[in-house]
Symmetry: C2
Subunit: 133 residues, 2 copies
Amino acid sequence: MAVLEDEGYRATAPRRAIINILAEKQEGFTAEEIGNELPAVGRATIFRTIKLLLKAGVICRLNLMDGAPKYSLSSVEHHHHTVCVRCGNVGEFRAATVERLMRGLSDDIPGNIVGHRLELYIVCDRCTGNPDD
Amino acid sequence: MAVLEDEGYRATAPRRAIINILAEKQEGFTAEEIGNELPAVGRATIFRTIKLLLKAGVICRLNLMDGAPKYSLSSVEHHHHTVCVRCGNVGEFRAATVERLMRGLSDDIPGNIVGHRLELYIVCDRCTGNPDD
DNA sequence: GCTACAAACGATATTCAGTATCAATAACCG
DNA sequence: CGGTTATTGATACTGAATATCGTTTGTAGC
């Protein structure tokens, strides 16, 4: 919540409402979902606020193969995502191994690596139990 | 080109035209680019054919952070992409290290890993030379 | 080569996510 | 409290992608 002040933005009611919703979500959510839960807030503001939080690093965007992009709280600053291919739930993980790998890879790549993104497609434990949910 | 027959699709003129264009491109290209080079082919067909080739595994889709998705020939069956953050060019690379990493990671992930996707954001050699192109 | 039938086509309308515009509103600072 | 200015919401718009549908065109069988 302090993010708004830190960046010099105003702590308006719509923004607070959106941030409160996000805090409960944790998991991957779409812009539309937020809009549905806050009918009082205009579409434009939803997207504006999401963009604002993206820039502030509070949430991160995840472009999936199909459908609208999902967002999730970036509870840790650098991390990667797991996406369950069956239920679509999104998780976060962090692995030092990945970062180490990047450094190793830099010799094979024609240019300077400035960032990376890793997505793991999984069948989550919940879905493993229910063959077709 | 044999892809079409292999999957039971018809080898129509528009499809052949599209495939020919793709064969020259190699790099990341958008659906719109293809459309521009083939004004005779309807928009719908461009997208239909792209989807078809995606399913057949001939090309792969790359959802970037902004703008339309890019596609590229999957000249090797499993690979990852480099995206130059300055000029937007897309490259492919393959590294056994990545695959090895996945196996190592599987213990830390709550579920079964069924696939993965890695994108490297780089400043390519060409752009490193020209500070602001 | 000709015919028939289904697959595929192109033009158009439509959906959907996201953005621009702009007058009205509400935070913040004094 | 009042003025300034960021922010809002309604609406219109854009741009990518899809659905519809009458027409065209591969292809298999003759």
